[in-house]
């Protein structure tokens, strides 16, 4: 009961002091200067038409405030999130926005108090419709990113003032290492044929089928699974158990920190991407974790996640417990 009372008080406080910030845009500044000038002119000359104009300008300011407030009220946001966020390059991020009643116009969204750059917008948000806002965000660095709220800004109706409101919403975004080129060779495979083309049975088409995957560049056209390719519309190749599929276990050495760690993470991510793309199995060894080797894009995602958490183990414990 006590709790409910507290909740109610908090709600009342929030209602009384809505967390808004108001910024005057560039054109708005000029507008205010002109309004001031017109006001001076009206007072000095007593010209009634200037008074009329001044009244119009001032009430436009008031109406603009009221409309933008109506526009930004009653908005609820949830994060749909992203598929994959790599550091240093834009990734698609989505918020689902809706409101119970009334329209909203010209909303722009961004993450509040986080180093994520960029934002997305929606021109018109009718009531009771969930609209997915897309944005290209950029994260500066790898690692888990705590998000505390979504910043909603509108310059509606006239673009004179930008009204901003932060909707508190906890969340976590895992930023994968930057995508670069791998400069080092992955080293020897743990399992699988040794050497590059020493195996005479390399392309003989025997061996158990382990799966299909898209034909990569420079691969033998004889490996194409024509039936499946025809049905899906893209060139798929057959992968066999005994062929060039090898297993690597990549390692991020202990004791790295700062830039060296970042560099190594990027390197490992790039290597893993390349090897998985070629159809090999890749595992990962870090100071406190081992990732079993596996293939496919799910494995790549797992590796990227593990790499993203490197160096942020403290936060990770909590997250693990939560999951």
């Amino acid at each position: 009961m006590n709790l409910r009372l507290k909740q109610r008080r908090a709600r009342l406080r929030a209602w009384l002091r809505p967390p808004r910030t108001l910024k005057v845009t560039r054109i708005g500044r000029t507008y205010l200067v002109v309004t001031f000038g017109v006001g001076l002119g009206a007072l000095n000359t007593g010209n009634n038409l200037l008074y009329l104009l001044l009244g119009l300008l001032l009430s436009m300011v008031v109406v603009s405030g009221v409309l933008s407030e109506r526009c930004i009220r009653d908005i609820s946001v949830r994060r749909v999130g992203t598929d994959a966020a790599f550091a240093g390059e834009p990734f698609a991020f989505r918020w689902a926005v809706s409101r119970k009643q009334g329209h909203a116009f010209a909303l722009t969204f961004s993450e509040a108090d986080s180093p994520l750059l960029g934002g997305g917008g929606v021109g018109y948000l009718p009531a009771n419709v969930e609209h997915v806002v897309r944005a290209n965000l950029t994260a500066p660095r790898r690692g888990p990113l705590r998000m505390t709220g979504v910043r909603v800004t509108t310059t509606w109706p006239l673009g004179l003032f930008a009204k901003t409101r932060v909707l508190p919403l906890e969340g976590l975004l895992l930023v994968y290492p930057k995508r670069t080129y791998a400069c080092q060779e992955p080293g020897d495979a743990e399992r699988g044929p040794v050497g590059d083309s020493g195996n005479p049975r390399r392309n003989d088409g025997s061996g158990d089928v382990t799966g299909l995957r898209e034909l990569a560049e420079g691969e033998d056209a004889r490996r194409i699974h024509w039936l499946k390719s025809a049905s899906t519309g893209k060139l798929l190749r057959v992968e066999r158990e005994r062929e060039e599929r090898r297993t690597w276990v990549l390692t991020v050495e202990a004791g790295l920190a700062g830039d060296a760690l970042e560099r190594r993470c990027e390197e490992v991510a790039a290597l893993a991407h390349r090897l998985l793309d070629e159809g090999h199995e890749v595992g990962l060894n870090t100071t406190d974790r081992r990732l079993r080797s596996g293939a496919g894009s799910a494995q790549e995602k797992r590796i990227l996640r593990a790499l993203a958490w490197l160096g942020f183990e403290g936060a990770r414990e909590e997250e693990e417990e939560a999951a």
């Binding site: 709790l3 009329l52 109406v63 009221v66 929606v122 018109y124 006239l158 906890e170």
Partner: protein, 686 residues
């Protein structure tokens, strides 16, 4: 370019056009700026942004224009305010032709704002108000579309329709707010120096010269423009005044032209007394509009005193002196676009002048005849009069004859040798000057003193005053009657005395004039005094209306109170429906909230989005000590929420209490364990 953004640009351009037009209606901008701006606007509307490529370079053109304007100003050909306004218009024109981006849009709107402000300084016409509203509406729609367009992701359509409705509401509120501000904002200064006059469009059409020449076409009769406004006191009432408004009189006719004997009588007077007045003078507050174009004062027949004259120019108003000329003409000494003055006139029935007291040149002129007067004029007059010698009766007899025998026409072409004879005996048709001249001369041949008077005939009611149109210009005859002075006799057929313009045009202009006069009274001339009146009317309704209308309608205060009460009720209703309409949380959901609140002290880690069900399952899996206590609560919650078996009265409390006990026990246990764990190493260390 999408449909929405094209619409936005068109709106922007038209708004800018409206802003420019609000200046242009004053008629003071130089013609070439009108032309330049017009070309720019048309090009912009056609989508040809000519300066899109070289915005910087073409800005040099503006520099050139500024130089030209500066030269004009220094040479005195152009007012500084006008030049500034024109420059603002040309800046806007340059921005219209530039590449449309966000900054340009802002500049176009702001220059529009400057132009509207300039228009307020230049003109005070009603049209200005219309353009002001049009500008604000179009401009805000365009700006709002721009704002929405900026937020819409690339390639998606701009929701134009959805924008318009809330925006229209907003603009309506803004206009209402502007009106409220206008009415309520205290006017701190008493001197109202608003623009009283702007030349308007088109040249002035009437005016008085020193002569009246017979012949030519009388096209002026169908010109419906309003040249004079007057408020009379005592107010005679009635829609048509049908009075003679005299400007000046003529007494010498040379066969073609009327002129006056004598020159300036009085040089410079603040107040002119033409003739002594009596008790029952009619007071007129007269305004001569720019369409009038002359400097001669007009007053109801017969003027007694004229004065308190003010000449309004584009820069302001100033008091001016008057000059009296021959023929009873009063003139302003200084030129202005329009004038206002006060006049007192004698009631109709005679001027009260006596022949003796007239100046001697005038005395002689009243019987003068042109040397080459056709003898038939005198013969005809004698025949018509048939021995009638009494001046007024004779004049009326001749006037009746003229009206009977001659037609009224405005289609007179060519210059005649002897226009009078031509009118009387050949063509037998003419306009008011012909009729008046004929009557005057025929009277003079018979030895009756008479003169020609020119001015206006008519007076059309507009609001609480009367207006005269250019087409009301008229000429008539003054007959000198002993004891009574000059008496007006009009030979023109009555139907053709006032303006002859098209009825529709006249009515439209009358309507406009009515609106314009309202606008002028309630907006342009709005003052602190009016504010006090408004305040007083709000506090206490005027006495007069109270006595007459109390029986039928409640006082305005009651209406206001009712409106307020209605609004309060509406707001309360809105609030209630909102509270009622809010989706009530399920009872079981509230129960779950309670359970979670109880679990809080146990410090169970919960993942985001983990439900109680999941939590329960996880605890059971992990063998957590709290699991047995939580299970019944979870089970009942699930049943109540999804199984359609609501919680019984008091059951929730029971479950919660049990759970609370378990949690407290658990917490205490944990704390003990933690203490023990903390104590252990210490014990070991010691």
């Amino acid at each position: 370019m999408t449909k929405g953004s094209r619409l936005r640009l068109v709106l922007r351009d038209v708004a800018s056009g409206c802003a420019f037009a609000s200046m242009a209606v004053s008629g003071q901008l130089p013609l070439w700026t009108l032309g330049l701006y017009g070309v720019a606007l048309v090009a912009a509307l056609a989508g040809k942004r000519l300066f899109a490529r070289r915005a910087k370079l073409t800005a040099l053109l503006l520099l050139g224009v500024a130089a030209v304007l500066a030269v004009n100003v220094t040479s005195g050909a152009l007012n500084l305010v006008v030049a500034a306004c024109a420059f603002a218009g040309l800046i806007s024109a340059h921005r219209l032709l530039s590449a449309p981006d966000a900054a340009t849009d802002g500049q176009v709107h702001l220059s529009g704002l400057l132009m509207v402000a300039g228009g307020a300084a230049l003109s005070g016409e009603l049209v200005y108000g219309l353009f002001l509203v049009a500008f604000s509406v179009l401009s805000s729609v365009s700006m709002a579309l721009g704002v929405v367009e900026a937020a819409v992701p690339e390639g998606e359509p701009v929701p134009v329709r959805a924008v318009l409705r809330p925006l229209a509401t907003g603009v309506t509120f803004a206009v209402a707010g502007a009106m409220a501000f206008f009415i309520l904002f205290p006017r701190l200064n008493w001197n109202m120096t608003g623009p009283r006059a702007a030349p308007g469009l088109g040249p002035a059409t009437t005016g008085f010269s020193n002569t009246v020449r017979l012949g030519g076409a009388g096209t002026i009769k169908d010109n419906p423009r309003i040249v004079l406004r007057a408020t009379l006191s005592p107010d005679p009432g009635g829609d048509a005044l049908n009075a003679y408004w005299v400007g000046r009189t003529y007494d010498i006719f040379d066969g073609l032209e009327w002129t006056n004997a004598g020159g300036v009588r009085r040089e410079r007077e603040p107040l002119l007394t033409l003739r002594p007045g009596g008790d029952n003078l009619i007071h007129q507050r007269v305004e001569l509009l720019p369409a009038y174009g002359g400097r001669t004062l007009i007053a109801l027949e017969t003027p007694s005193r004229l004065g308190n004259a003010v000449a309004n120019g584009s820069t302001g108003s100033r008091r001016t002196f008057l000059q009296e000329l021959a023929g009873g003409e009063a003139r302003f000494l200084e030129a202005g676009l329009s004038y206002s003055y006060e006049a007192y006139s004698l009631p109709p029935g005679g001027s009260g002048d006596t022949f003796r007291r007239l100046p001697s040149v005038e005395q002689d002129a009243l019987l003068a005849l042109p040397e080459a007067l056709d003898p038939r004029v005198s013969q005809t007059a004698a025949r018509v009069l048939n021995g009638e010698r009494e001046p007024l009766a004779a004049a009326q007899k001749l006037a009746a004859w003229l009206q009977r025998e001659h037609a009224y026409t405005l289609e007179l072409s060519g210059e005649r040798e002897d226009p009078l004879a031509d009118f009387l005996f050949e063509r037998k048709a003419g306009h008011c000057e012909h009729f008046a001249t004929a009557l005057t001369l025929m009277l003079r041949t018979q030895g009756i003193r008479a003169r020609l008077a020119t001015g206006f005939f008519g007076g059309e009611r507009v609001n609480d005053g009367y207006v005269l149109r250019a087409g009301d210009a008229h000429a008539w005859t003054h007959v000198l009657v002993p004891e009574r002075g000059f008496v007006t006799v009009d030979a023109t057929p009555p139907a053709h005395r006032p303006s002859q313009g098209s009825r529709l045009l006249q009515r439209l202009l009358g309507l406009y004039e009515a609106l314009e006069s309202r606008w002028r009274n309630s907006v342009v001339d709005y003052s602190f005094r009016d504010q006090v009146d408004v305040a007083r009317a709000l506090v206490r309704p005027p006495k007069g209306s109270e006595s007459t209308e109390r029986s039928r309608l409640p006082p305005p205060r009651a209406w206001g109170a009712a409106l307020l009460a209605g609004m309060v009720v509406y707001a309360a209703w809105r609030l209630v429906t909102r509270l009622v309409g809010r989706p009530r949380p399920h009872e079981a959901t509230r129960f779950v909230d309670l359970v979670e609140a109880v679990l809080l002290p146990a410090r169970l880690f919960r993942a985001e989005g983990e439900t109680l069900e999941d939590l329960d399952a996880r605890l059971a899996r992990e063998g957590h000590p709290l699991a047995p206590a939580l299970a019944p609560a979870t089970r009942r919650y699930l049943e109540a929420r999804f199984g359609g078996r609501p919680l019984r009265q008091g059951e929730a409390e029971q479950l919660i209490r049990a759970l609370q006990r378990a949690v407290t026990a658990h917490v205490r246990l944990e704390a003990q364990r933690a203490r023990a764990a903390a104590a252990e190493p210490r014990a070991r260390a010691s």
